[in-house]
Amino acid sequence: MSDILHIENIRKTFPGVIALDDVSFSVARGEIHTLLGENGAGKSTLMNVLTGLYHPDRGQIRIAGEKIHFTSPRDSLACGIGMVHQHFMLVPAHSVFENILLALDNVPNFYSRKTYKEKIQQLIDEFDLDLDLSTPVWKLSIGAQQWIELIKLLMRDCQLLILDEPTAVLTPQEADRLFDVLRRLKKQGKSIIFISHKMREVMEISDRVTILKKGCSLDTLARGDFDESKLASLMIGKDKIPQWQKTLQMSDEIVLDIQGLSVRNDRGLSDLDKFNLQLKKGEILGVAGVAGNGQKALAEVLTGLKNTSHGRILAREKDITNSNARYSYIAGIAHIPEDRKTIGIAPDMSVDENLIMKSFKSGSFRNWIFQNKKAIRRNAEEKIEQFAIKTGPDGTPVRYLSGGNIQKVIIARELSEHPAVLVALYPTRGLDIGSAGYVHKVIADGADRGMSTILIAEDLDELLKLSDRIAVMFRGKLIGYVNPRKTTREEIGLMMSGETPGDTA
């Protein structure tokens, strides 16, 4: 078995962060090789090194035995390495055809549209994919966009395909379809690096598994040498997930009642379609669904960032439909946004200033039209201690903080007014285990005090562990509720792909 890829002692640092410390492993021809690791273990950085986007500080990469130094993605592609990124590298405004053509080598400047359309269509037919070449990409589902990425690489005849968490955006059924295709590719002699942290998939598809932890490659295990629990213990190591005892205080009082909510996005498509949801006092309501099925719109409508065309939202019986963000906040809804850095903080401002972003007008932080700098400082000192936020020297802009600490700043701010409802959108995405555990604890503690939480997450484990009930959404509709203690992954998976539930829940 000859190795197509062999890497040794790769190290890559960014200002203030060691993303990769020491990584070595190899991939054989015709192998599906999984890289397993927690968020933040360095998987994505490693892949960006392999595809020539980043220059490693140290270490070497060999392709088919030859030592290689990539200076750009072009070099890596020339060596037959192709990657399906987690965030697709597509041009939404261009057609499927133009997107694929862009990725092809040796296309003459004055190319024949007919020839290339035929060639691409052939490949689409070979794998029975459902793609129309002239559709603009923004009109396609996420699953279909992923096929484009794959076709791009196949058209270039890449020998090593890297897939970065390809199933995160797919329904379980779509994922199965993907695995079929991957197995067929393996039979054709292609090698695949599969990145995931979902144990079930890893067990199903991998020939070998390499475990990454804190920027180091721990071990490579062949099929037969690993099982789920062994991989899990290697991946998570001795870091214990903080446990807590949840006292079930859920009452029947409904604090938030969403009735027939419909929202259209900028492109005129439905984000939410007659969506209903009821949240009880002290409840943690998990919302499951494949990303892009309306979760973001739901959070935005609830927090007043987006308006709805139909339907009503009642918070503690007060109508807050189409109120602005400030109003929702006063009505008692706090929000942990999906994208911390782009909407959660003012990156150039200090921790002190970020902590009062929602309450700067309140009497405690101002005297007449002037800000009360002393009170603002005192508030920051309290919050920094209470939430164990690691900051730089006073006045350091928040953007220099780590992801986990930025999230703590946001949480500290959102919880400071003791909200009745918390809408948390992917609150642990991209956080290390310690920070994620902390976020879980804050949510659970809040529930003990009577705060209700809508927890929108992509990790089923997280939802199953925390939620009192799980609502499943698909294409902007509520498919149904399940009881996390009685349900199965398969059931939720089916609901995530739009099938209405049986008689559980």
């Binding site: 986007l53 993605p73 072009r74 261009h94």
Partner: protein
């Protein structure tokens, strides 16, 4: 009457058309260029000087292209290679262009040349109403017709054009596909700037065959606004440029007819209409898929993506 007005429309619209086409090429690659006004002046002076010194209009036009190409490369270097602020760099280019043409053009003021002559295209120029306006014009105007088509063909039928568009929409995607973002952007800015220069040269070689300080008089800014009206498409740029040519032609016509309305008020019309058109086209832009390149105005730093 209508024939004369239409003819004046095309002649007044042509410099704006060249400038708009040049600006479209810049913005398609994701670079905002607010230096259009300065580039037009540089083109106008270089074109005039080239023609005056060599006696050849072709030399003038080529020199206008080359000078603006060079000036545009300053903007390209700063915004593409050095990732500087595109708005400030463009404004600097406009200031630089106004200043340097005033300085070097001092000796050219008052000189005259023989400008572009009309060449009637047999047959077509006999067409009623449109014949004279579109087919009894000078070579630069015929070139502008060709250019509108060539730019469309370049963008939608060639791989380079696809590269330019992709670099402007999603530079990271183009980069992963092996397109050099900086090379594509650099040449889109410089070649686009060169075309803007030809627009300037039209002013000093055809509209009024002489050099006048600051002779572009805001046309560059109108072109910047027209890019949005045109939805970044070259055929629509033609429509937009002639719309403004039309307003200018009518304004001149009014003045010639000796209306009681102040000349100063009439001169405001093109600027006023540009703002109006900008508002309307921005409103239209918001509906449906945006035509604006998604990467417009954003510097691309490969290591910055995550």
């Amino acid at each position: 009457m209508l024939e004369i007005l239409l003819d004046a429309t095309v002649r007044a619209g042509t410099p704006i058309l060249f400038a708009t086409l040049g600006a479209i090429i810049n913005e398609r690659a994701g670079i905002i260029n607010l230096g259009i006004e300065g580039l037009m002046l540089i083109g106008a002076l270089a074109g005039f000087a080239g023609t005056y010194l060599s006696g050849s209009l072709l030399v003038g036009v080529l020199l206008a292209f080359a000078a603006s190409f060079l000036a545009g490369s300053i903007h390209a270097l700063i915004t593409v290679q050095l990732r500087g602020n595109q708005i400030v760099s463009g404004l600097a280019l406009t200031m630089f262009g106004i200043g340097i043409t005033a300085l070097f053009g001092k000796g050219m003021v008052g000189l005259t040349i023989v400008g572009f002559k009309r060449i009637a295209i047999p047959g077509l120029s006999q067409l009623p109403i449109v014949g004279k306006a579109f087919f009894n014009q000078d070579l630069l105007i015929y070139f502008s017709f060709l250019l509108v088509f060539l730019i469309w063909f370049f963008f939608y039928r060639t791989r380079w054009g696809l590269g330019v568009r992709s670099v402007g929409e999603n530079p990271a995607a183009a980069d992963t596909c092996g397109f050099s973002v900086s090379t594509y952007r650099f040449f889109a800015v410089t070649i686009g700037s060169g075309l803007v220069g030809i627009g300037g040269a039209y002013l000093s070689l055809a509209s009024t065959p002489m050099w006048i300080e600051n002779m572009s008089a805001g046309r560059g800014w109108i072109a910047v606004a027209l890019v949005i009206f045109a939805g970044w498409s070259s055929p629509r740029a033609m429509l937009g440029a002639y719309l403004f040519g039309g307003i200018t032609a009518m304004q001149l016509r009014f003045q010639a007819m000796g209306t009681t309305v102040s000349a100063h008020i009439l001169q405001m019309l093109p600027y006023f209409f540009t703002i109006l058109v900008l508002v309307i086209s921005t409103l239209r832009l918001k509906k449906g898929a945006s035509q604006q390149p998604e990467g417009l105005g954003l510097p691309y730093d490969r290591e910055d993506r995550k």
